[in-house]
């Protein structure tokens, strides 16, 4: 790809992460953007402004106000007192990755020498997702009168189908969620810093929309993150170690569906195609990936992406939940069809002591491909806000 490794992230800053910030979102964004620009060419004229496509919180009778419930690129530029050559907001699937793609293209094309990219999340007070609507117009009239509303039900439908089709379990998902919490707990500015979650706690959490419980969801917060991007060439003279963008890719379901209707097959197909595009454009081979990081705003999405992503062992594109579990308590299935809590290279210790020691990944009722468990394979899903910091140079460089 023409833009591969020509643009680098050279700075970043993060606001405190709180359920409800003491400042308005706009003020939080301005403070964070000032910190992000510090020492990284605070020249407003040569700088572009980009905003990711974060959802506007329309979930109740909440009038969206720029600078309060969302922060547009133009609002931020105005309140930073600069007149950028280029300002834009991303529209489409992908949100932050989509905004990064815009930023890369802005730098490569010369539309901007430096890009300040921000992500501002707002959590209005009140019950999340609740909406007192009494009549429904437009596209939502096809689903809301039936009670189908907001993303939880959308994810729940896809997840139910996944669990049923692949014989996956919430016990295996517990390992993913517990591992994610461990990562969040390690990050000082995370909402979950220094907290723990046990699998038993996850499994005893009441359902919201079966099979989704509260702990399958990211926690709504007020928070802002900013990144500064410039050309790899300019990055050489800047104080921080640059992180080059090797490539980007997006994908979206193309079939006409009901509103918020994500079919399992649609989502998995998009994940596969997006991954294929990403490998192709970045030129990064599967064996070079140390840490695949996928969006896990809802835990089941980890399964949905990774099951079709050809970054699993041997480029496998089948059910992924067993590998997810390998990060903690392994729940693989031996050729003898007994489920055991052992790693894939161990001998089967089911009661009849199958000696084959070859472990399979179940791919559906009545079928399954037999593979040896690659126990070295390790995936560490991170939570949404923390996930943006995977390329951070070191903990000591985190802005305070």
């Amino acid at each position: 790809m023409a833009s591969s490794n020509r643009v680098a992230v050279v700075g970043y800053a993060q606001s405190p992460v709180a359920r409800h910030a003491e400042m308005t979102l706009g003020a939080l964004a301005v403070d964070t953007a000032r910190r992000g620009r510090r020492g990284r060419r605070p020249d407003g004229e040569r700088c572009g402004r980009l905003r990711d496509g974060q959802p506007v919180p329309f979930r109740r009778r909440h009038a969206a106000v720029d600078g309060v419930s969302l922060v547009s690129a133009n609002w931020l530029a105005e309140h930073l007192g600069v007149n950028p050559r280029y300002a834009a907001g991303f529209q489409g699937f992908g949100q932050l990755p989509g905004a990064v793609a815009l930023a890369v293209n802005a730098v490569v094309s010369g539309a901007a020498d430096y890009v300040l990219l921000h992500c501002a999340l707002h959590n209005p007070r009140g019950k999340h997702h609740a909406n007192p609507m009494t009549d429904v117009r437009g596209a939502q009239q096809w689903t809301v009168p039936q009670g189908y509303f907001r993303p939880l039900a959308m994810i729940a439908l896809a997840y139910t189908e996944y669990l049923e089709r692949y014989d996956a379990t919430r016990e295996a998902m517990a390992a993913v969620v517990v591992e994610a919490r461990k990562n969040g707990a390690r990050i000082p500015w995370s909402y979950w810093y220094d907290t723990t979650l046990r699998a038993e706690e996850y499994l005893s959490e009441p359902m919201v929309n079966d099979p989704i419980c509260r702990l399958d969801c990211d926690i709504p917060v007020d928070a802002v993150a900013c990144f500064v991007l410039t050309s790899a060439e300019r990055a050489r003279d800047l104080p921080h170690r640059p992180v080059c963008v090797a490539g980007y890719a997006t994908g979206a379901p193309v079939k006409h569906r009901l509103p918020l209707h994500w079919l399992l097959d649609d989502v998995m197909a998009v994940g596969e195609e997006t991954a294929r595009r990403l490998w192709q454009r970045s030129g990064v081979g599967l064996t070079e990936v140390d840490l695949p990081q996928v969006y896990d705003g809802f835990s089941p999405i980890v399964y949905l992406w990774m099951s079709r992503c050809p970054c699993g062992p041997s480029g496998r594109r089948t059910a992924w939940h067993s590998e997810a579990a390998s990060t903690a308590t392994v729940a693989t299935r031996c050729r003898c069809s007994r489920v055991e809590g052992r790693s894939g290279t161990d001998a089967c210790t089911a009661s009849h002591s199958c000696s084959s020691a070859t472990w399979s990944w179940p791919v559906g009722r009545g079928g399954g491909s037999v593979r040896t468990c690659p126990s070295a394979w390790r995936v560490i899903p991170l939570r949404i806000m923390e996930a943006q910091w995977s390329t951070a140079p070191s903990r000591s460089e985190v802005p305070t």
Binding site: H129, A130, N131, R137, P145, L157, M207, V208, K255, L258
Partner: protein, 140 residues
Amino acid sequence: MSETSRPLPVPDEWSREFWTAAAAHSLVLARCSRCDKLSHPPDVVCPHCGSTDPAFEFTPVDGSGSIRSWTVMRQSFLPGFDVPFVLVDVELTAQADLRLIGRLVDGPDTALRLGAPVRLAFEDVAPGVAVPAFALEPRS
């Protein structure tokens, strides 16, 4: 019929025939006049043949199908819904990959499985307003 506080559809030029038929407990779906395929919901461009002038005609459909997925809603986020209730994602037999989402009238404790056959039902939610729903076929 008791008054409901559930959100009610406001029919428009794209949906008026659908909701009028639903009120009479009949399911009609948009059929493209160019390629004869059903679309739900109807769109500006026919998703099957790409016609920008699909001249959709609403056609009666029997509404039987099979469950492709489901969820038990224990919080609804909307007014007027007594929880828990079950939502099912149904692939209609009328056409492959044609989906309709509705409540399952059998109740939240019903044992479900992928592929279970269902038939159409309707919920009368207000005078002159009925919403498509589903019921399990007896021997499913």
